[in-house]
Symmetry: C2
Subunit: 247 residues, 2 copies
DNA sequence: CGGGTCTTTGAAGATAGTCAATTTAGGTGG
DNA sequence: CCACCTAAATTGACTATCTTCAAAGACCCG
């Protein structure tokens, strides 16, 4: 029965014991506030690779925080063209765009087997009224998303293919590093086509540009396995452009 | 002295009597709540054409709502490249990107003589805790900005020059129409270069594309004066792409 | 009215896209 | 465990779109 209790513990979500608490929502909450938050957050949901967490047009009820795994979000135009608007890793939120119209504005798709926490928005909103620091952090998270989007606009509007890809790799690197992973040796969770969609490039251009970087000795490319051998060279390339921080 | 009183009235901001109250912040508030909001909002500030409302890097204290006039917001990269991230007209908010780091993340510049309301963020935040519908509306406004940004990404990532410009003109048209202005006959407040910066194009491309549209009889261009003669042709051009609503 | 900025237009050039062929990887089932 | 099959990635050749460079013309503010 102790076993069952333990089992229960691993299933039940708890912000207070979550390893992501410094990155995710409960930043700066005290113990009481944290347990109030725990009470609101729904048990985590598991998704297999390729599964949709939500789709554009579906009713909006909850935000989702990535616990483990990797997601992409994308908006689709009527004629089928798809724009990847971001890649989300652990501790990052999805669904903020759904608040405005009470309907999700993008698709969220797991790029590997993943797990998310569900945050019912109504309850988060009322909890925010009771815990000012939570409300404030919420505003900050939404604002951070706006800043991120502005930087993507800068990337898409002003940068050349090489600069875009360099900025992308450095951005991934930094986000992985801040989660305790190796900054200069990682696996891409997304395809060349998905990278291209995010960066406003065709998949062939992504592939060619990666090859070019590798040829110059800046990176090593073994399919999805990327090593940044000379990150500073990449930084020089994007220098002048404020890096597009994805989160 | 009656004169002075009147004068005072025109200076003092009042959401409850503002013609923009259906577009701007106080959507859905009752009379009491509206007057609480009035108490928080600072007297409006006037800016001349070209003047900065705030600059990237400045400390963030307030959001600003456009009362009259027209603004652009832009982020600049270190090497001087500039990306216009949006154009704001009456009833639209600026400064949301400053919340995340307590520092403004972009420049806001008046494109014509303009007037803004200042919304001290701290006080808006605490007022939100007292007026749930205000808090909710605030979240919705921030979410709307995220949706707008996603649509700009789609525009920059997926659309050709003609499609971008058509989407831009239709977007302006719609926003003007919702403010009671003519939808198909308006003055551009921004230069070709600023349009280009927003759309990820060079000013020459903007100019050429406008000429092309005019040559086809879709629009009339007299410098900054634009008439949409065949808006449906423009819509056909962008059809398939969800239009990039700027607000 | 005049200097300077903004705009238009042309011609040449560069970057990224398209089309296509080949290779490789990863998953499935015998 | 291996062979197969489908999907992804690489690479090349060619093309389209947009940019760059340049020059001339128009407007606007002071």
């Amino acid at each position: 029965m102790n076993d069952q209790l333990l089992h229960h513990h691993t299933l039940k979500v708890s912000c207070s014991s979550c390893s992501l608490r410094e990155l995710c929502l409960p930043v700066g909450l005290n113990r009481d506030e944290m347990s109030q938050l725990d009470a609101v957050i729904r048990q985590s949901r598991r998704l297999k690779r390729g599964e949709y967490l939500f789709r554009s047009g579906e009713g909006f009820r909850s935000l989702y925080a990535v616990r483990t795994g990797f997601f992409k979000t994308c908006v689709a135009s009527q004629d089928g063209r798809e724009q990847v608007t971001g890649f989300q890793m652990s501790g990052e939120l999805m669904g903020l765009d759904g608040i405005s119209a009470n309907v999700h504005g993008c698709d969220a798709i797991a790029l590997e087997d993943s797990e998310v926490c569900e945050l019912p928005f109504n309850r988060m909103e009322s909890l925010g009224r009771e815990i000012p620091s939570l409300q404030h952090h919420f505003f900050r998270l939404m604002s951070r998303e706006i800043v991120r989007d502005q930087n993507v606009m800068l990337l898409l509007g002003n940068m050349k293919a090489e600069e875009r890809l360099a900025a992308f790799l450095l951005n991934l690197s930094g986000r992985l590093a801040s989660r305790g992973f190796a900054a200069n040796d990682f696996i891409l969770r997304m395809s060349r086509e998905e990278i291209g969609s995010f960066l406003g490039l065709k998949l062939e251009t992504v592939s060619r540009t990666l090859s070019k970087f590798a040829q110059q000795g800046w990176i090593s490319v073994d399919h999805k396995h990327i090593k940044l051998d000379q990150p500073d060279s990449l930084k020089t390339l994007v220098s002048g452009c404020s890096q597009a921080h994805s989160h």
